[in-house]
Symmetry: C2
Subunit: 724 residues, 2 copies
């Protein structure tokens, strides 16, 4: 690929991006698109919608960029929660590190590459891209020290930035925990693997067990019911409700009994009702037995203090580790109810199955990747299909196919990956939505790095080559392959990067759906449809992949860095806009994805160093190789230190913190209130009933949150003022 | 190697073994050798030693075998603790599984191998050993189903036996915990990484922290002092003691203050003393400051209940995971005082360094292994050194060198490994002696498997071959190499196995040292010298290595199985005898080595299956290969299940159990007593002082235990009756 082909590709993509962004700035002003682009702020706007049709509405304007730029981190934290801030931190980190890398590589490494060999340079547009890469430096050149120096600067800067980011994210997470005084999840433990006793129901076992071992801190518990049977239960309960209404006129009883089956919670009911139900109504007993049969071996157990809950969650309960398995409960909206009833002893086998399935999926995916590879090597293609030779000889088509088509094909195939991985993660059996998303994120990440990076670099025929490869050859192989693939990576940044950002902001699918709904199907307006939560599982791997490409190409083919920088700046604006306007925050993982980001970045840095080692070997520069090895060891030690220092805070909650929180509550006297809220916080029926309405749609919708928004117009107003 | 060479080797080893065992049965009857062979029972015997010189003393007798055989498992449990029983379980498991394997392989696989090819068999003594191995089965033979069948039987039997053993060891561990009501370690937590406050001493920080967060359950604490400074402290304390004696005549003060510097423990001192010390004595303040300066950032913290201690040990204390790191304390005799003062933040880097050092050591060791390899391939040796050709042509010398010398050389080199690994494990910084031994055990195990098995099998030149190897070729390579090396493994079992067992029971080093001491140096009798604790870190890897060899050769070269069975039966008798008579139990790890044994055995079974897969591939039997793959997957799943089901019980103590123990104590009203004992249980000075006397001797001696023995003649009497 030469510079002209790259410029063609860049031209197409810049045009597409500019058109789409302008389109967005017009479309967002149309009132009919409000529930595509402003779902977060929708509820209040609906009332004061103006029908006016002024000229301004059809002129592109950069106002959204200004708004996205001006919003501060604190405002985003208040608006969209910690996960969004951590997500933006990935972009900020990338911008910072690639700024440093750009300065070093463009002013030091690029000239060295370009003048690396004694040759007469052509006109720049027809110059091959390889001239700008390290492939142009002659063997044994003394100028390789500049590459080694750049490597040191980039590695050290990356480690330093990573350290400070990890530190600040950890601090933010602690503040997030101490700030969420009202969250019921710190009082609650999810117990799974409740043993089956022949005479008692699960509920009785749980009550007995915790009354026995946690007598001083146990508050109440609430069983989890088997999924699928919930609807039936609901209808049963409704029938029974009507019957009871006639007898006792005490409607509160059933829902309460259903949700909080603990002995303690019974005490909250008035005595009259219990007497009534025992005395008069035999059908009530039927319902009770029915409910008991539907109980699964899992329950939420509430404790009087956060400390007690954390102790119960972290200590091994039973001598048989498959029984009485305790975990700190997720937030109420984060609970993945349909997974809770899965027997705990099934989980390990589910995990292994999914692991194998993911690996199989990764290898099956090699087919389209090989296809893509074929397109970049046009000569092979025209040999295989001679009838194409005529078309391929045309210069523009040739440029289009080598410069643009491969990454489009790859991108289209890649769109099928996140839903598949999400499904895999669901089957794995996590207890929370954020856990499912995190698991899917890791899978997509491995998948992307394997399929986009390694398979592309190692020439598509990795399976055939496995038999020739050895560990020692890997740096050398990579060093040979990466500079040759630099052209592909540049077009990948342009297509998959720039264009996908424009797609993200225009939201074509939602736009078309909205249009169809309004003008073709003429559905009644139902705003709740489009409230999506942020797709971290697709966006985080995307950013990290570009980071990996950037690190690896930095000293080998520095021309990619400006393209990447533009991508990250654009991403910063687009994602900020989307976070502020489109996606709603349903649940928080408290920055749990940062360790993934950290580890992947370290992996990228180490890959950069290993490939540099291979390159210095190829170029016969033992001094540069010798200097790279301590850097590699230093990076790995740094990673290990960070793992020791920071990562436990992302897995467990420290006792210190919760004890202080408990004391604060006691001082304020808010404990009783919290207990009251706790009792109704986790309610399987309410949520499932709401969700079940839309269960056939793929988006995981929580109407609940939207309605909360509606209920609190004051907060919404503040929010609107912030983002205006 | 032919059968005759094997028989030569077997003959030499049987002769050596019989001679040494007879020698032992005579030597053990000599009164002068009592402190070599009966160190465990020494203390009481010394008083009633008879000098009579009857004829019986010089006749070999099998009485020790009978005694070793008759002792029951319960007696050994009472006598030598759970670790010894678990160690014997390894041998029992091996005997059981290799009995099954022998029956299957000798009656089914061996005839198939022997008549595998249409050939005229020679006389058995001059028959090559390869005729008995799978190498003699022709390609595409239908009789390979017998090998596959044997594989299934052995794998299934191994898994079933492993499951029941794991279950019974887990049960035993739980009983061990519930049975040790008096152990102070379940009340105690070792805190490391105490943060340095500018104004307070470490001791004050610890007191304040635990009074703050564990007010209801905190009892007292005791600082750990920096190693090396302890002696100086002792002398200071003694000086001060003399001064104080003159002033207050209260000698108890210093030792108490030194050991238990907690605010709570101050209360135990009488008020008079405190007043005295504050009023009259300025030098006392000096001592106090001096002690404070010597405090390290570690402390033992005592709790009122076991449950509280376990909670404190398992919960993450601080938001900074490098501060206030808590672990359940080891038993008092198990504490490795010299490692406690190591700053916690150093540990991770120590671990990495030691890991790298161990790997380096493993590769450096390739030199002697290559030498050994040279001896088994005599033709190469005689080509390299032509002057040896004359000697090597002699038949007996040839047999001796191919059949005997290689494993002797290897064995001699291997003797340097355990001390090195023990040193490595010490530097790594474990807090307990049992932890150090466990860590050394794992290192020796990896080392042995790598150097004895893989390097030998893969022809010594592994480094040269690394560049040709790939993952897919491994089964094939192993399948080619293992049958060829079967002869070496047989001689290895004979020399390293049988002969080393005889060495173990005769204890030549201790015997010679004892002789020298008595008749040459004429030292006064000091019995405490020879009290060794059982060297699990050398013996467990040895047994597991033989297990690995057994599994791998079982279906390939079944002739090894009877030799192995004899080895294991002999080992059973010898180790029982040694456990009963020689080694004393200073500390218990509570069967923590069983997970290592389990994992290694699973590894051996999986290796057996992988090699079988390779062999079936070589022999072109796709059906047999096809049947092996599900077996392999099944074995791995079984291992994963065991890991889920059993291994957490070896890492943590379940809350259920300790709560029940606490309640039992409360019911019996023994808590106060336990608290009293607790205060003096962990005493750095007492133990170090005792040990420092002998610190220049390599054996880790605990006089303490020996004296305890002397103090309790009743217990000793019972013990003696048991083993008579």
């Amino acid at each position: 690929m030469d510079v002209a082909a790259l410029l063609t590709s860049a031209g197409i993509n810049i045009a597409i991006t500019v058109i789409l962004l302008s389109l967005y700035s017009i479309l967002r002003k149309q009132p009919s698109n409000l529930n595509v682009y402003f779902t977060r702020r929708l509820a209040s706007r609906r009332t004061k919608r103006k029908g006016s049709c002024c000229f301004e509405r059809f002129v592109p304007s950069p106002s959204w960029i200004l708004k996205a730029w001006e919003t501060t981190e604190d405002e985003i934290l208040a608006l969209a929660g910690m996960d969004a801030v951590v997500f933006l931190k990935i972009i900020v980190f990338s911008i910072r590190i690639f700024c440093i890398a750009s300065v070093v590589c463009l002013f030091l490494v690029l000239p060295v590459n370009y003048y690396g060999k004694q040759m007469i340079h052509k006109q720049i547009p027809s110059e091959s891209l390889e001239v700008f890469s390290i492939a142009n430096v002659r063997e044994g050149s003394e100028w390789l020290w500049s590459h080694c120096f750049a490597l040191y600067i980039i590695s050290c800067a990356a480690c330093a930035l990573l350290y400070f980011e990890y530190k600040s994210v950890t601090k933010m997470r602690l503040e997030h925990i101490t700030g969420s005084l009202r969250s019921p999840n710190y009082f609650t433990v999810l117990v799974r693997g409740i043993p089956l006793a022949s005479e008692e129901s699960y509920s009785d076992s749980v009550g007995k067990y915790f009354m026995n071992y946690y007598a001083s801190s146990y508050l109440a518990h609430q069983m989890v019911y088997r999924s699928g049977t919930v609807q039936k239960l609901m209808s049963d309960a409704e029938k029974m409700y009507r019957v009871l209404m006639n007898v006792t006129e005490q409607p509160k009883l059933i829902s309460c009994r259903l949700c909080c089956g603990a002995p303690n919670s019974f005490k909250m009911l008035s005595n009259e009702v219990e007497v009534d139900s025992v005395k008069g109504n035999t059908r009530y007993g039927d319902l009770d037995r029915d409910i008991r049969e539907k109980e699964s071996a899992a329950a939420f157990v509430f404790f009087k203090t956060r400390y007690a809950a954390i102790v119960a969650a972290e200590v091994l309960q039973s001598a048989n580790p498959m029984l009485w398995v305790t975990d700190l409960a997720p937030e109420p909206h984060d609970v993945l109810w349909s997974n809770l009833w899965i027997p705990y002893r099934q989980l390990w086998i589910r995990k292994i199955t999914i692991l194998l399935a993911s690996i199989a999926f990764m290898f099956v995916f090699l087919a389209p990747v090989t296809l893509v590879q074929g397109l970049t090597h046009l000569d092979q293609l025209s040999n295989a299909f001679p009838f194409l030779r005529g078309i391929l000889k045309q210069k523009f088509i040739n440029r289009l196919i080598t410069g643009y088509l491969p990454s489009v094909v790859l991108m289209l195939f890649l769109y099928t990956v996140p839903p598949t991985m999400m499904l895999f993660s669901k089957v794995e059996g996590p207890i929370s939505r954020s856990g499912r998303k995190k698991s899917a994120c890791i899978k997509v990440l491995y998948f992307t790095i394997w399929n986009v990076f390694f398979v592309n670099v190692l020439s598509g025929s990795i399976i055939g080559q496995l038999s020739v490869f050895t560990v020692r050859q890997i740096p050398r192989k990579l060093a040979e392959a990466v500079p040759l693939q630099a052209g592909f990576f540049m077009t990948y940044v342009l297509t998959s990067g720039w264009a996908s950002l424009s797609c993200e902001i225009v939201q074509p699918v939602a736009l078309i759906w909205n249009f169809m709904k309004k003008f073709i199907i003429r559905m009644k307006e139902d705003t709740s449809d489009c409230t999506l939560s942020f797709p971290y599982h697709t966006e985080v791997p995307k950013l990290l992949l570009f980071g990996l490409i950037g690190f690896i190409c930095a000293i080998l083919a520095p021309l990619i860095l400006p393209l990447l920088l533009i991508y990250f700046v654009l991403a910063y604006l687009v994602y900020r806009n989307q976070i502020i306007n489109v996606y709603i925050t349903k649940y928080e993982s408290g920055g749990r994805m940062w360790p993934i980001v950290h580890n992947t970045t370290i992996f990228s840095v180490v890959m950069m160093q290993i490939i540099a080692l291979g390159v210095f070997g190829l170029k016969r520069s033992p001094i540069a190789s010798g200097f790279t090895i301590p850097l590699l060891i230093g990076t790995l030690l740094f990673n290990e230190y960070c793992r020791q220092r920071f990562s436990p805070a992302f897995q467990k909650v420290a006792a210190e913190i919760v004890v202080d929180m408990d004391r604060q509550d006691e001082r304020n006297g808010t404990m009783e209130e919290i207990y009251q809220e706790l009792m109704s916080a986790y309610c399987q029926l309410k949520l499932t009933k709401l969700i079940s309405k839309d269960s056939n749609k793929s988006t995981d919708v929580s109407h609940h949150e939207v309605r909360d928004c509606i209920r609190d117009p004051e907060a919404l107003k503040q929010e609107l003022e912030l983002v205006k």
